[in-house]
């Protein structure tokens, strides 16, 4: 947009055309007070707080040139009435006065009016101290009240709008920010207005009330204390809080947040601005779901099993025992008899040291970050290989961008992506949502593609075929192989055949292919449902990204929604049986989690170290294996089912109690800082690994790092397992001597990662602390309004986006297709483990969200229900080849026939008992009581 020059209070400066007067004045450092206006939402001009005097240069009617006065200055025609700054776009030569007597009278008047219905109960109000109404009244308002308190309107208070948010109607100034946020940004139209005039009021109109995953944000943008969270209600005054910057590890988005602490207690969690990640928002899971940090059931001391019970022990005792036992197993049976699982929510430093401990100290490759359940699926390498490029910032994207969301439910898997993708669409991007069922994001899509159950691969192939037909292959600039095989495979079927198999009209496929091909930036996001279709689908999606030219550059590529907050970090840093950090493939692979349980049961694996995962909760195999194993160490926050079966339980520090870095779905590495001292005697995970490694190093001779000598091969990531064809033979040089185990702080670990893991080069704590250019939200005029008095300001670093692996030139992309997975099971229905934000995550304990946890249910389609004469609430049983499961049925009108959906991860509903693999065929039976 061209710039225009405006004059605000006598100062002239340039701003982009089309900016509104409030924002434009702010760019010049001049504050115009606002209540209803919010820069993230369209202006409505309701509160009338931003009234300013606006004048335009008078034009000569004949020449259309500005008239000049005697001094050569343009003649300014002031508008007869004051204008609301938020709804007035600037234009060339505009003159804006914000300090004239008339303007000040109007501002004071509006504030006085607002205060006539406001109780001024600041001392008991949670917003007090970070309240725009307070701040603006101090600066622009009248000093004296002319309105008697007893004449004010009184309402019962507080009115719960839902479990989480409380409304104080007396304080509400009816700016409608919350209603507009829910309608326009969150797409949950759950708030509305009722009555009119002075009785106008906010009501919750959904059932259950305020059913939104973003409800907490309304309390941030509320310019008064009308909306407060039940989580923070009367906990503390805001000026007593100290904000400790953290990263949310509850989903792969990696939102920046602040742990607001009073002394050593967590009072609340607030979003921290990061334009590239979460803007200024935070989902309710991140905001309210961190109460586990202070939960009373946290482990506080190491425990050692004595017969049937645990006895508290000192760290010295516990660690010595662990080291001795592991050393014994190692020397008796070798490293392959030891296995380790680490949760994908641990930090990069933890994960890196965990794999070092296993590979270098114990000589074991039996490493994984999966649970070892039947539906684990393959490791997702393509999301790293073809990841969105360095410099990606979804905030900058709009028109010219095409986003394809394939087999994902972002609202549940990574809630904040919903807000970000919707914002992208509002800025003009095209959003295509392909799924077999209705998801919330679909409502915001430019085009929704509902493929038939099991038709995803056909759809992906149809898209690839369309691109190949258009000669996209000639434009691939990357090192690649297998193109001919791919061509042969997809051309084997006609577009019509593929479209029919996908259940999608050919025109829609063409439209999507065109959009991807013509897009300046193309993003492909895929989630759990796509991953459950196996690598064949993911690789076809990868081919789609490559063929449409949307890889290896900023703002283009693939985003994989993986479970946990740091799955990408675990993959990058080699907590997997087949590759070292940086996707360096190993010739000798260890056991993946899925094979671990049988190996342990059969006595091949004798010792297990499980950090942060709870396989025993839901996997009968794991329970057997843990019973059979000689020695089990569990490193946990809580006494989980797995911990109960351990020989040694080590208390770990939570995310808020230690420093660490985390890699999000877009491969942005971000640093989280310690907000409080570790609970009890708990220690950071990396420190525990290091302590044991040190002891082991003293105790035993290092197993020779045999793997090194053979020369590591860089993994061709996705296709690693198949062949070596087309692989780059580059050998990664590394220091001959492995580093010693003497890290004092995690930043030393991070520095070593930066040095030794190629794509993490430069990711040091210093570099992570850079905040880049202050955005629109940096500290400046009007900050009280935009920050709501609360600082979302990010002074602690916005993280570093890693380059996609393909752009490093070390890898060759294999395009050769994989056959579709063959399902032999003849059962009629496909079981879908539905990932849910409020599923059975044990970290939600102690939070208000516990009340909203999903209820066990078997969700079936209307037509399947009719066929079997099942009503809502009937008890039904699903039977697979390996087991059966029963729960209450919920009939879902929008679910396609042939699909059964069961919430994943609920403690009361163990899906893994009946799963046969990533995809399970089941039959449905009504239980007759």
């Amino acid at each position: 947009m061209p710039d225009v020059t405006i004059t605000v209070d006598g100062r002239s400066f340039s701003v982009p055309a089309g900016t509104n007067v409030v924002d434009a004045a702010r760019m010049g450092g001049i504050a115009i007070p606002v209540f209803c206006y919010h820069p993230r939402m369209p202006a409505v001009g309701m509160c009338r707080m931003c009234l300013v005097q606006v004048g335009m240069p008078k034009l000569d009617p004949a020449t259309r040139q500005p008239l000049m006065d005697a001094q050569g200055q343009p003649v300014i025609a002031l508008m007869p009435k004051l204008q609301t700054g938020c709804t007035t776009p600037v234009s060339e030569g505009m003159v804006i006065n914000t300090k004239t007597e008339e303007v000040q009278f109007a501002q004071k008047g509006v504030l006085e009016f607002l205060l006539t219905s406001h109780p001024l109960d600041c001392p008991v109000c949670d917003k007090g101290g970070e309240c725009p109404l307070q701040n603006l009244t101090m600066e622009w308002g009248p000093g004296q009240s002319r309105f008697d308190y007893n004449d004010k309107v009184h309402f019962e208070k507080p009115v719960p709008l839902g479990d989480l948010i409380l409304l104080d109607r007396e304080r509400c100034i009816l700016c409608s920010r919350c209603v507009r946020f829910q309608d326009e940004l969150a797409d949950d139209s759950v708030l509305g207005f009722d009555h009119r005039g002075r009785n106008w009021m906010i009501v919750s109109k959904s059932d259950p009330p305020f059913a939104s995953k973003f409800s907490g944000n309304t309390t941030d943008i509320c310019p008064v204390g009308a909306l407060t969270t039940a989580d923070f209600r009367f906990k503390a005054r805001v000026w007593e809080l100290s904000s400790k910057p953290g990263i949310c590890t509850l989903c792969p988005v990696g939102c920046n947040l602040n742990f607001d602490m009073r002394h050593d207690r967590l009072m609340r969690v607030m979003p921290r601005e990061n334009g590239a990640v979460n803007d200024i928002w935070l989902c309710d899971k991140g905001r309210f779901g961190h109460r586990f940090i202070e939960h009373e059931s946290r482990l506080h001391a190491p425990l050692i099993r004595h017969g049937d019970h645990f006895v508290e022990a000192s760290w010295e005792e516990a660690l010595t025992l662990v080291a001795e036992k592991l050393a014994a197993v190692q020397s008796a049976r070798g490293g392959s008899a030891i296995a380790g699982l680490a949760a994908p929510r641990l930090s990069n430093e933890d994960l890196y040291l965990f794999q070092r401990l296993f590979r270098e100290q114990l000589g074991s490759n039996n490493l994984d970050h999966h649970l070892g359940s039947p539906d684990d699926g393959d490791h997702d390498d393509l999301g790293g290989l073809l990841a969105v490029g360095k410099g990606t910032n979804l905030m900058e994207l709009g028109a010219g961008t095409t986003v394809l969301v394939f087999g994902a439910d972002p609202e549940e898997e990574a809630p904040l992506y919903l807000l970000r993708l919707r914002a992208l669409v509002q800025r003009g991007a095209q959003l295509f949502v392909a799924n077999q069922r209705a998801t919330k994001l679909e409502r915001s899509a430019t085009q929704a593609l509902r493929y038939s159950v099991g038709g995803e691969l056909a759809l992906a192939r149809a898209l690839v075929r369309e691109l190949l037909e258009r000669g996209a292959a000639e434009r691939i600039k990357l090192k690649h192989s297998g193109l001919d095989a791919l061509r042969k495979q997809v051309l084997a079927q006609t577009p019509e055949q593929l479209a029919a198999a996908a259940g999608i009209a050919h025109e829609q496929i063409v439209a999507l292919a065109t959009a991807l091909l013509e897009a300046e930036h193309g993003l492909i996001m895929y989630g759990a449902e796509a991953r459950s279709a196996g690598l064949a689908l993911i690789e076809t999606l990868g081919a789609l990204a490559v063929l449409s030219g949307n890889v290896g550059k900023p703002n283009s590529g693939m985003i994989a929604l993986l479970p946990g907050g740091n799955s990408r970090g675990a993959l990058d840093l080699g907590v997997r049986p087949d590759a070292r950090p940086g996707y360096v493939l190993m010739p000798q692979r260890g056991l993946p989690a899925q094979q671990l349980w049988s190996a342990a049961r059969d006595g091949h694996v004798r010792a297990l170290w499980i950090a942060g995962l709870d396989p025993a909760a839901c996997l009968p195999d794991a329970r057997e294996a843990l019973t059979a194993a000689e020695f089990v160490v569990v490193q946990e926050l809580f006494m989980s089912e797995t911990a109960r079966m351990a020989d040694v339980v080590l208390p770990a520090a939570s995310v808020a109690e230690r420093d660490g870095t985390y890699t999000n779905a877009e491969r942005r590495v971000q640093r989280s800082r310690a907000a409080r001292a570790p609970h009890g005697q708990s220690r950071p995970d990396w420190q525990i690994f290091q302590d044991v490694a040190q002891m082991l190093a003293d105790m035993m001779v290092l197993p020779h790092p045999r793997v090194e000598a053979e020369g590591a091969k860089p993994a061709k990531a996705a296709k690693g397992a198949k062949t070596a064809k087309g692989q780059n033979e580059q050998v990664v040089t590394r220091p001959p001597e492995p580093p010693r185990w003497d890290y004092l702080t995690p930043d030393e670990v991070a520095a070593e990662i930066a040095e030794r893991v190629p794509s993490y080069g430069g990711v040091t704590y210093e570099a992570l602390a850079a905040t880049g250019n202050p955005g629109v939200w940096g500290r400046q005029a009007n900050e009280a309004v935009f920050y709501d008095g609360t600082s979302y300001e990010n002074t602690e670093g916005i993280g570093i986006a890693l380059p996609s692996l393909i752009s490093t030139g070390r890898f060759t992309l294999s395009l050769s297709p994989r056959p579709a997975p063959v399902v032999k099971d003849e059962r009629p229905l496909l079981l879908l483990a539905q990932p849910l934000a409020y599923g059975g995550d044990p970290l939600l304990r102690g939070s208000l969200l516990e009340r909203q946890l999903a209820q066990p249910a078997i969700v079936i389609s209307q037509s399947d229900a009719e066929k079997l004469n099942i009503q809502n609430g009937d008890r039904v049983r699903i039977v697979s080849a390996v087991g059966e499961l029963s729960a209450a049925a919920r009939v879902h009108a929008d679910l396609p026939p042939g699909l059964v959906m069961v919430p994943a991860g609920l403690p009361g509903l163990c899906l893994s008992r009946i799963q046969t693999g990533p995809r399970t065929r089941v039959s449905l039976v009504k239980v007759v009581v």
């Binding site: 109780p119 001024l120 109960d121 001392p123 008991v124 007090g128 308190y149 007893n150 309107v153 009184h154 309402f155 019962e156 208070k157 507080p158 009115v159 709008l161 109607r169 509305g192 009722d194 009021m201 009501v203 919750s204 109109k205 959904s206 059932d207 009330p209 209600r233 009367f234 906990k235 503390a236 005054r237 000026w239 007593e240």
Partner: protein, 165 residues
């Protein structure tokens, strides 16, 4: 020489029959001025409810950081103070307190008042922390009416949430 002796004795004799300036503390205690700032008290309203609403403004005003307030929400059926909020914990560290009276100034409900008790000495530091129970005046010694903003006057029941599905 003798003259000086007499002179000195006269002074001695004169003061022998005067009221002594010193008092026999602790048997005798000298009254303090009305505005003397001694140990704090947490006052009550006439109806016996606590004046303190747990707003923490005293702690914010305190230059010595001697006050700790942890607020909580009143049970609607059994409120401790008028309004929604009360102080669940209220502690003053008398060793830190400098008796400046800023807390009094900051208090919106006149709950905290520096009274005349000045005998504040402790055998250990922990004893210098005065808890809410120690600071609160007895229930029958309240005064004044709660301000209207804290009274649930004329509260209109809010209509239930509308559900339009």
């Amino acid at each position: 020489m003798f003259g000086e002796l007499v002179k000195g004795l006269r002074t001695t004799l004169k003061y022998m029959f005067r009221q002594p300036v010193t008092v026999q503390y602790p048997e005798v205690k000298r009254p303090v001025r009305e505005r003397f700032r001694g140990r704090h008290e947490l006052k009550r309203f006439a109806d016996g409810s606590e004046r303190c609403i747990g707003c923490s403004l005293c702690a914010a005003a305190c230059p010595a950081d001697a006050i700790l307030v942890i607020p909580a929400e009143n049970e609607p059926d059994n409120p401790r103070s008028p309004g929604e909020r009360y102080a669940a914990t209220y502690e003053i560290n008398m060793l830190r307190c400098i008796f400046c009276g800023y807390c009094e100034d900051a208090c919106p409900t006149n709950a905290i008042v520096l009274e005349h008790q000045y005998e504040l000495s402790f055998y250990d530091r922990r004893a210098s922390i005065f808890t809410k129970e120690m600071l609160l005046v007895p229930e029958d010694q309240g005064h004044g009416e709660p301000p209207p903003v804290l009274k649930q006057i004329e509260r209109r029941p809010s209509p239930p949430a509308q559900i339009d599905l």
